[in-house]
């Protein structure tokens, strides 16, 4: 089936098998390997991307479902050599170790702050229910989101 998907502001038209998951399309077809696959039951959140601005686990969606939609991956966040404030906050607060869950964490929390510019600690933790990290114990991820939110408020 032919799909046209805007990925990171680029319109892309491809023939895909109907069963192709969006994450496989992103990683395999487009070689955007920043989006990761950490499980096979849509639990871990390593594959989180934004679809029309909302965070979505790209393993829960078929590529054909994304036809006509806008997809943003981790590769789209850095602009003109400047990290996105959330990326910068993760670096500042040591919110990542092995880096594997990180793209999903960043994409998910970018969406969190779009919905809630000043989330409380429990709200951050609750929001991250669908993103598993095995390295950080979440402590510094929560701090990174708080750090980013405090910066966003000032801007």
């Amino acid at each position: 089936m032919q799909v046209t998907i805007t990925v990171n502001n680029r319109s892309i038209t491809r023939d895909v098998e109907a069963r192709t998951l969006l994450v496989d399309f992103i990683r395999g077809e487009l070689a955007l390997t920043g989006t990761h696959v950490g499980c096979d039951t849509s639990q871990c959140g390593a594959c989180t991307v934004l679809v029309d601005g909302k965070s979505i686990k790209s393993c829960t969606m078929l590529a054909v479902e994304a036809d006509g939609h806008e997809v943003s991956t981790i590769e789209s966040l850095e602009k003109n050599g400047e990290l996105h404030p959330m990326q910068a906050a993760f670096r500042e607060c040591h919110g990542l170790q092995c880096g594997f869950c990180t793209p999903g964490m960043v994409m998910s929390t970018v969406d969190l702050l779009q919905n809630n510019a000043n989330p409380s600690e429990p709200e951050i933790r609750e929001w991250l229910e669908g993103n598993i990290c095995r390295c950080t114990g979440y402590h510094n991820i929560v701090k990174a989101v708080q750090h980013c939110a405090s910066g966003t408020k000032g801007a």
């Binding site: 639990q43 594997f100 095995r134 390295c135």
Partner: protein, 784 residues
């Protein structure tokens, strides 16, 4: 300058944050094919035949191989040999890379299907017809040791792998004979699945024209994989086998080992002369990654009337799974039995461990590896002793602790601690956690209908493994030194090649801090390389919290060699005697003068040797060093957990975790705290959430994130981390290691807190994981 001790931001972060990390599954080779494994759905089955005819006809199939095709290659080897009490070696049954006549656990590799696409390989795998004849299985330690239990391996009688001991029995018997009190308890150490977020993956490419095989794989120790795979299994000489572990998404032990999958992928890529790639699905990770823990045991502590520990007798049983994974036998023995002195001056200790085979996935080292099991047993026992004797649990610990004046301290279980200050860590932890103010918080919680508890663990671990001669005596089939090469470039920037591997630990940053300070160059001028056997000297990789203590020491040693050579060059340039040259803050100076050459000038001279002592010194500025540790290192400290139980539901809320550790000298406090946070999360996970369950038939009931509880963000509190440093005395970095302290120290503190919370109801013990169901049941049982 002085970057050591500063919380410098990590060099590795930019690539991970922008999606530019390069993990094994991200690697694509031209014309690569994809592999999918056919795995046994039975825990124990005879394989009467495999019909692959229909599968071979499926779309896109390139080849299908079974155990029969692999004839002639070695089995997957074990790297550690334990001896029984009577001196005979452990049972070491073969581990064929693909099953031949029998499958021994659910997930055991039966065949590999290779196709043009992953989907085709997976679809064709469903068409491979395996004629299984299910056999009775043993899925737990208790089932394995039961009278008349089915045998996992015909040549391992009673399913016994080994029957090992450490320490002396007679003094322990004598201690119990004169004891005023004996405290004893049974302890279960629950089985865990490591669950690094990146599933294992391997891609192998063979170039027939150069006869070179390149394997990219998710490994914590690529040289070890090259050695085992090349020399012991596939007979590929080392200069023709290159193993690359690129960015690796967490390991926690599970990526130390040589597994069947990369073995078969490598064999198949060579056979087909075509790149073959395999990446585990999470379900496969649950089934076939080496699991952790899984011990049951009985502990007895003898005390005098004043509460002084007189003797300790440990009698444990450990599950090895179906096959011996690479370091499995070391885990419940030398990484476990040696830990039973802990922070205490118990004069007599005797440890017995029987290891058994079961029809489950192999069990090996998982973050902490043997030490969490020992620490849990000991710290639960000490709490129970305090309760039984009616003593304060802090005072009982304090009075039995090894005082700092006693170092170096020889334990009755082989280790000699070089340094530490356990009482200082205890005091720091108590103060930081406001231990003395707890009862008021308990009362306040009671008004809200909650049962609040506090728990402590004072512990020590042994890491920085380890002196090669010693581990050789203990059965290791490898040395445990580390390597480093420092290449100073002509303009004074530096590339460091380390034999360790970073998969989250931040070596690229912390190691650069050490080198930058050593040479007085900018932190940004130092780059750390790791993970490619073709680049780095033979190194042993990363596990057992060894990278800074052992790998960092190799780096310091190599840096010293660079400085020594630099002094010769500087002496020539400054027309001074070499003995008069001092090196400090990036300058070679003639003692007592202001005449000096910078590090950069000396480096440039080494590569542009126009005015150079060429008869005495070679051009170039590059040195390699191997560092063999002189002893284990001994991090330790005090972990305190405070939590609340809802008696109506059994739900637990962890309110806070306080850590007061001594991990030796700290290079980057930000990274050290991060390591502790992560370890604590895994330790809390073991205590409250995680448990790998096989049913009686050996079916894995916890095979995905739907039914294996990974700690999520809302399951954990913010943590308070303090540090009381006593530098390691026997390595040049002064570091002890930090990777595992969290997962070792916190688990008993959490369970001690749960028991403390429930103790007003009369609950004395609870099994891990303390799930709401278990807690609720314990409350109901206590209430009669």
């Amino acid at each position: 300058m002085g970057s050591i001790g500063q919380p410098l931001k990590r060099k590795e972060d930019h690539r991970f944050l922008t999606g530019r990390g390069k993990y094994t599954d991200d690697i694509v080779r031209p014309n690569q094919a994809y592999a999918y494994f056919v795995r046994s759905p039975y825990a124990h089955a005879k394989i009467n035949g495999i019909d692959k005819a229909e599968a071979e006809k499926a779309d896109g199939v390139v080849a299908i191989f079974t155990g029969a095709d692999l004839e002639g290659i070695g089995g997957v080897p074990c790297g550690w040999q334990i001896h029984n009490k009577d001196g005979t070696p452990m049972a070491e049954p073969p581990h064929p890379a693909l099953c031949t006549d029998k499958a021994l656990f659910v997930g055991d590799e039966v065949a590999i299907v290779i196709a043009e696409t992953k989907a085709q390989a997976k679809a064709a795998a469903q068409l491979v017809m395996v004629d299984y004849e299910p056999l009775p299985a043993v899925s737990s330690i208790k089932a394995a040791i039961a009278e008349g239990a089915p045998l996992v391996h015909a040549d391992a009688a009673n399913n016994r792998c080994f029957d090992w001991h450490l320490g002396e029995k007679d003094p322990v018997d004598a201690a119990f004979a004169k004891a005023d009190h004996v405290v004893e308890m049974d302890v279960v150490n629950n089985r865990l699945v490591p669950n690094a977020m990146e599933p294992r993956s391997a891609i192998c490419e063979y170039d027939p024209s150069s006869d070179m095989t390149t394997l990219w794989t998710t490994s914590q120790n690529p040289h070890l994989i090259r050695l085992l795979l090349g020399a012991f299994v596939l007979q590929i000489p080392e200069h023709k086998l290159r193993v690359i572990a690129p960015d690796v998404g967490g390991g926690f032990g599970s990526k130390i080992y040589l597994y069947a999958e990369e073995t078969v992928v490598t064999w198949a890529a060579r056979k087909l002369a075509r790149p073959v790639k395999w990446t585990a699905e999470r379900t496969e990770s649950f089934q076939a990654d080496a699991h952790g823990r899984d011990q049951i045991g009985h502990a007895r502590l003898a005390l005098d009337k004043d509460g002084n520990f007189l003797g300790l007798h440990i009698k444990n049983k450990a599950n090895m799974g179906a096959y011996l994974s690479t370091f499995a036998p070391a885990v419940p023995t030398y990484l476990h039995g040696t830990l039973f002195a802990g922070v205490y001056k118990t004069p007599a200790i005797y440890v017995e461990v029987e290891a058994v085979f079961t029809n489950t996935a192999p069990v090996d080292a998982y973050r902490g590896a043997g030490r969490p099991e020992a620490t849990y047993q000991l710290e639960r026992l000490v709490d129970k002793a305090a309760a039984q004797l009616g003593m304060d649990k802090i005072e009982l610990r304090r009075k039995n602790m090894i005082p700092k004046e006693a170092f170096p301290y020889q334990t009755p279980v082989a280790l000699q601690y070089d340094t530490g200050d356990f009482i200082a860590c205890l005091d720091l932890g108590l103060k930081s956690a406001d231990w003395d103010g707890f009862e008021a918080r308990r009362e306040e919680a009671k008004k809200r209908g909650k049962l609040r508890g506090i728990g402590i663990s004072t512990y020590l671990e042994a890491c920085g493994i380890a002196p090669s001669a010693l581990v050789g005596q203990l059965g290791a089939r490898a040395g445990l030194y580390e390597s480093a090469t420092i290449r100073v470039h002509p303009t004074g920037s530096v590339t460091v090649f380390t034999g360790t591997h970073s998969h989250g630990q931040g070596h690229e940053t912390a190691f650069a801090q050490i080198v930058a300070d050593h040479f007085g160059v900018d932190f940004e001028a130092v780059d750390i390389q790791h993970g490619d056997t073709s680049q780095t000297a033979f190194g042993m990789g990363t596990y057992g919290s060894r990278s800074l203590a052992v790998g960092g020491s190799a780096i310091v040693k190599a840096a010293d060699k660079v400085v020594a050579k630099g002094k010769k060059i500087a002496a020539h340039l400054l027309e001074a005697s070499e003995a008069d040259i001092e090196f400090e803050d990036g300058k070679f100076t003639v003692k007592g003068t202001d005449r000096s050459k910078t590090f950069g000038e000396v480096a440039l001279t080494a590569y542009v040797p126009h005015n150079y002592p060429i008869e005495e010194v070679e051009p170039g500025l590059e040195e390699t060093a191997f560092y063999d540790p002189k002893n284990f290192t001994y991090p330790g400290g005090c972990h305190i957990c405070e939590l609340e139980v809802d008696p109506e539901t059994g739900m637990i809320e962890v309110c806070n975790i306080t850590v007061a550790d001594d991990v030796g000298r700290v290079i980057n406090p930000m990274i050290v705290e991060g390591q502790i946070h992560g370890g604590v999360a895994q330790g809390v996970g073991q205590a409250l959430y995680e448990g790998c369950i096989y049913d009686d038939d050996g079916q894995l009931l916890t095979g995905s994130y739907m039914n294996y509880t990974m700690p999520r963000a809302a399951d954990l509190p913010m943590m308070t981390v303090g540090n009381h440093v006593t530098p390691c005395t026997h390595n040049p970095v002064g570091a002890k290691g930090v990777g595992e302290v969290g997962s070792i120290g916190v688990t008993p503190a959490v369970i001690n807190a749960v028991v403390d919370a429930l103790s007003p109801l009369g609950v004395k013990d609870i099994e891990m994981p303390a799930t709401p169901q278990r807690v609720w049941a314990a409350i109901r049982a206590a209430q009669g």
